[in-house]
């Protein structure tokens, strides 16, 4: 028999190894699942993980889908470091899409250089405003930011659905619930002709770097981390809990809002009933798998993006249901949590005949 024993100090090696273990376990599970569904597993893996990246267009799609995950994920990671559990990034993303899309529709046809920055700014502010609600209610009324931010996801999604079915519907759109297509000046410039990946990817990379500077090189970032790791020490040092909650939620909201406006002013090019296939929720997994570290968020976003892309390819090529993606994503987080056990604990063989029983 073996038993769990707390390690004297957390294992740094396991900190880095556990996301890899989790990814490996996910792949093993995938093998079994593909086999159970009657598919040749190696062929399915090839379709899922290799084929999407075997063309320049595929790589462009990979980076395109990684962009909102990087943005939402890095915002959430900074917040989770301070133990502010903002899980409503999907709603903040949707509000960013609504605010940015609203500006694009208001200035429809205006061909000016200031328009795109204004649209992005509106998206950021929309996401921040939506995140400010749970921040205000938590700091003023002690409500759980988990529940409030999540409830607001549904409200934001319903608002978007109302807008594209009502006031913002394209009058010439054959009654489809969507807005007019944005004009060129309201769209994010593409990085490479022929690929859909746009400048938002570069902005996201820059923000990851900025997040690293903020988290590891600024006093505000230090304060947030201390209040997450040792709340008592933080309050003894006079770090304001309220300021941390506000900061965590506003950063999360701003980056999710940018992700949302990046979708509507990017690949979507218009407002549709839904602004994302759940990037805001997937970003929770990205933040954890990425160890709440900006570089980790980048790698986790690329992995999760590949899962989205692979799911689409597998649907086309093998007729696998696209919902396999969500299943893989959920499994990945489970395996990570289980593997994380070895950061703080280790297995110790129970000596035969020992009188340890209590």
């Amino acid at each position: 028999m073996v038993r769990l024993e707390p390690r004297p100090e957390p294992s740094r090696r396991m900190m880095f190894a556990s996301p890899l273990i989790a990814a490996a376990l996910m792949i093993v599970t995938g093998y079994v699942m593909f086999a159970l569904m009657g598919r040749e597993p190696w062929q399915a893996f090839h379709v899922f993980f290799v084929q999407p990246l075997s063309s320049a267009y595929g790589v462009g799609e990979w980076l395109l889908k990684a962009t909102p995950l990087m943005l939402c994920g890095v915002g959430l990671a900074l917040g989770f470091r301070a133990r502010a559990w903002n899980i409503g990034a999907e709603g903040q993303l949707t509000m960013g899409a609504i605010a940015g899309g609203g500006v694009a529709l208001y200035f429809h046809g205006v061909d000016a250089a200031w328009l795109l920055p204004l649209i992005l700014l509106a998206g950021v502010l929309g996401g921040m405003a939506w995140a400010a609600i749970p921040a205000f209610l938590r700091t003023r009324f002690h409500t759980s930011e988990i529940l409030v931010s999540l409830m607001l996801v549904y409200v934001a999604q319903l608002l978007l659905r109302y807008l594209v079915n009502g006031p913002w519907k394209d009058p010439a759109g054959f009654n489809f619930p969507q807005s007019v297509m944005f004009h060129d000046a309201a769209l994010l410039p593409l990085l490479v002709d022929g690929l859909r990946v746009n400048i938002a990817f570069v902005i996201a990379l820059a923000l990851l770097a900025a997040a690293w500077l903020f988290a590891y090189r600024s006093f505000a970032g230090f304060r947030m981390q201390v209040s997450g790791l040792a709340p008592a020490a933080a309050s003894y040092a006079g770090f304001s809990d309220k300021r941390n909650v506000w900061l965590a939620l506003l950063i999360g909201g701003a980056s999710a809002g940018l992700a949302g406006v990046g979708e509507v002013a990017g690949p979507l090019g218009q407002l549709q009933p839904s602004a994302s296939p759940g990037y805001g929720f997937a970003a929770i997994i990205v933040a954890f798998v990425g160890r709440l570290h900006p570089l980790g968020v980048l790698l986790a976003s690329l992995l999760m993006s590949l899962l989205y892309l692979g799911g689409e390819t597998a649907q086309l090529e093998l007729g696998l249901p696209s919902s396999v993606t969500g299943l893989f994503q959920g499994l990945l987080l489970f395996y990570l949590l289980a593997a994380d056990l070895f950061i703080h604990f280790r297995f110790k063989p129970r000596a035969a005949g020992s009188s340890e029983a209590t």
């Binding site: 209610l137 009324f141 409030v148």
Partner: protein, 308 residues
């Protein structure tokens, strides 16, 4: 308001409240044992698809509800292995359970989209349902509506009138003291989490077998999260769950009867009401930090590792 409309509103409020009562009662038991399981939404969805699939395959509604409970318990067991045995963070594990449940139910449910069932029929209580107006108003619900009330009563009796309930609450308030006097803390927490999973799964099965007898991806639409909020609203007391759930049930059905009541608001805006109401009641309850401090189980969300 005509009596017919009133009866329709009461009946649909009760139906909307029932899954919330079941899931909230389950979560309340788990939280009383000190375990915060944010996986309600995932367990409800698992219950919904398992129940629906079992009923479509077997033709038996009863079997569907049993399958829903079993699916909820299976996910709860997964949560238990991670958070109770392997000591993972309860918040993160619960979120993972929800994300996993959403993905798993969508995956398993892909062959069941577009099928519809006849669903659960109302059960008119003999004699009582013959009373004019009051009869159809209060005594003509489907069996699960009555069952949900019985579940709440049983939860109350279990927690506050039995030794087992006393032990469970002791584990939730102070696992270390409970452990010191020889109580199996982890074992009791497992039972509480499994009971919670069974009830959430049952609530989920109610969605796909009675409330809207079909399977739709993500059909719980945040009800698992509302159930979590209801437990806070109820300050961890079973009978107050009833009040909260029927309040939400009433708000939820406004969107269906808004037109009949002469409310000229787009349906999307009316659909926001349950979510906004959740935020509002959370603010009202949490406004005074002492309300929470005095009622919340002391060890809620904290892991317990038995040493020595």
């Amino acid at each position: 308001m005509s009596p017919e409309l009133l009866i329709a509103i009461v009946a649909s409020s009760a139906a909307a409240a029932t899954p919330l009562i079941l899931a909230a009662a389950g979560e309340l038991v788990a939280e009383r044992a000190g375990v915060l399981n944010l996986g309600q939404e995932g367990m409800m969805l698992a219950g919904a698809i398992a129940g629906f699939a079992a009923t479509v395959t077997s033709g038996s509604l009863a079997l569907g509800f049993v399958a829903g409970m079993a699916a909820g318990m299976a996910l709860a067991l997964l949560f238990g292995v991670l958070a109770l045995t392997l000591q993972t963070n309860q918040v993160a594990t619960g979120l993972a359970l929800t994300l996993f449940g959403v993905g798993l139910s969508a995956f398993l449910g892909r062959d069941y989209v577009g099928i519809s069932l006849s669903g659960l029929k109302p059960l008119a209580l003999p004699l009582l349902s013959d009373i004019p107006v009051l009869g159809p108003l209060l005594f003509n619900f489907d069996p699960l509506v009555y069952a949900s009330l019985a579940v709440l009563a049983a939860t109350h009796v279990l927690l506050f009138r039995t030794r087992a309930g006393l032990k469970l609450r002791a584990v939730g308030e102070s696992p270390h003291s409970a452990h010191a006097i020889g109580q199996p803390v982890i074992g009791i927490r497992y039972l509480a989490v499994l009971a919670g999973g069974a009830l959430s799964g049952l609530g989920g099965a109610y969605l796909s077998l009675a409330l809207t007898p079909m399977w739709v991806e993500g059909m719980s639409a945040g009800r698992g999260w509302i159930a979590l909020a209801l437990v806070v609203f109820a300050t961890w007391k079973p009978w107050r769950v009833l009040l909260g759930a029927y309040l939400f049930g009433g708000v939820t059905v406004l969107q269906f009867h808004g037109q009949a009541l002469g409310i000229e608001v787009p349906s999307e805006i009316l659909s926001m009401l349950p979510y906004l109401a959740t935020v509002l009641v959370l603010v009202l309850i949490c406004r005074n930090p002492r309300t929470i401090l005095l009622n919340q189980p002391m060890s809620l969300g904290q892991n317990f590792f038995p040493r020595g």
